[in-house]
Assembly symmetry: C2
Homo-oligomer: 255 residues x 2
């Protein structure tokens, strides 16, 4: 496709794209009203873009993994990727977006690495969003895994280096791992979980990725409702939690 | 609950409720930017409200029917009720909303009538949204049903009379049956389908219900993408189609 007119790859292009027909689409989805009002139509910036959501059970969200096709509700599960894909597909009916969810429950960084060729590189995403890290500590606390904060950061860096080498134009979006203080989350998670979030942020900065501050969003959310309202077990978001994630993702990719 | 302060039952209350913290929630969901900007926080208007989505497969959208609880992703399927419930639960974390989806694939008006006590009246919704009608003609065209436009209107009127008698304070939202000109939809559907849409609108007006103009929304949508983009078989919406429905629903309940 024409890089000048149609490339979805620059952050600016994504930002501009998200402003398209903003005043109208503020009624649809996840644009802030000020941005909507300021927006100019430049939707051709994301024409033919492929968008891929990668991660663990939070991204998987109960999707039908046999369904490999793009833009298919059954393949998206019931989480933030479904909310975001529905919004984007309704917002850009002319742009022939191809949106995929390849999150798999229980995954840690090494699990993504094992399936990365088929489940990321072969898909050739123009925008790649990754949320990974909660199982890297959870399974360790359960005695099922021995990874450290350091091996998490090294493995995550290596995954992104491999990605940038294969897909140099792909816009990377790294999502902050998060937990809520309820359910499975207890004091044993800290301070290591905080250290892992800090590691994820360093990985994002090193890769020049957009950072999506999910933990900050939930920390704000618990001022209005108890942690279990947003995620019953402290890890897997409720419908309200996934909607808050979708909002946070769009705001981060926009800003 | 206090009818003066907490009633979700008047249309004005729903409208006002939807304006709560509008400028913020325009970034989340389905408020138009002008309404968002105009909004004043009056969320106590919908405190403890129960919202019920009723209909056929378009509303069912693959939900887990064994899951009867409110606010549960598995119980919502992958359609406009999931998008709307996720948005509303994230928008009103303090209001203890209870949202249910009881759509069932293949249902016609007589099917709703058979299960109405358990699947509507016993739930005591404060806001009841109904989308029903496409199977009433589809099954007739397939030779599996003999209902007429007249029996559809009479049955729909009777269902709402029964509802208003049992639940006099419930705010009714009637959704326009719609089709797109692709897939299973051919000329045999017309003019009867148009007559049935007109009947549904008369039913809504007679009941004093809010009318959600889904057909108008899709007629606008097909100016930007082919009918199959919004609903592959002309009846069951894609992710884009369900997102367009969610937007249209919120705009109608707001206006």
């Amino acid at each position: 496709m024409n890089e000048q007119k149609n490339s979805p790859l620059s952050r600016r292009a994504v930002i501009k794209g998200s402003l398209a027909t903003g005043a109208f689409w503020a009624t649809q989805g996840l644009l802030s009203s000020d941005v909507a009002a300021a927006g100019q139509p430049v939707v051709e910036k994301i024409k033919n873009a492929t968008i891929l959501f990668q991660g663990d059970s939070i991204t998987d969200a109960g999707r039908n993994r046999r369904n490999k096709g793009p833009n298919n509700a059954g393949a998206f599960g019931r989480g933030y990727p479904f909310l975001l894909a529905s919004y984007l597909l309704a917002k850009y009916p002319k742009e022939q977006l191809k949106i995929f969810n390849r999150g798999i429950s229980g995954n840690k960084v090494p699990d993504l690495d094992k399936r990365w060729q088929a489940d990321c590189i072969d898909i050739k995403p123009d925008v790649l969003s990754i949320l990974i890290g909660v199982n890297d500590i959870w399974h360790k606390l359960n005695g099922r895994y021995k990874g450290t904060v350091e091996s998490y950061e090294e493995g995550f860096n290596a995954l992104l280096s491999r990605t940038k080498e294969a897909l140099p134009k792909t816009k990377l979006v790294i999502c902050e791992p998060f937990v809520l203080r309820c359910g499975a989350i207890n004091d044993k998670w800290f301070p290591e979980f905080t250290q892992r979030k800090e590691a994820a942020k360093r990985v994002a900065q090193k890769a020049g990725a957009i950072w999506v501050p999910f933990q900050e969003a939930f920390d704000e959310g618990v001022k209005s409702a108890p942690p279990k309202y947003w995620a019953g077990d402290g890890v897997h978001p409720s419908m309200a939690g996934h909607a808050l994630m979708a909002k946070t993702w769009i705001e981060a990719v926009k800003v």
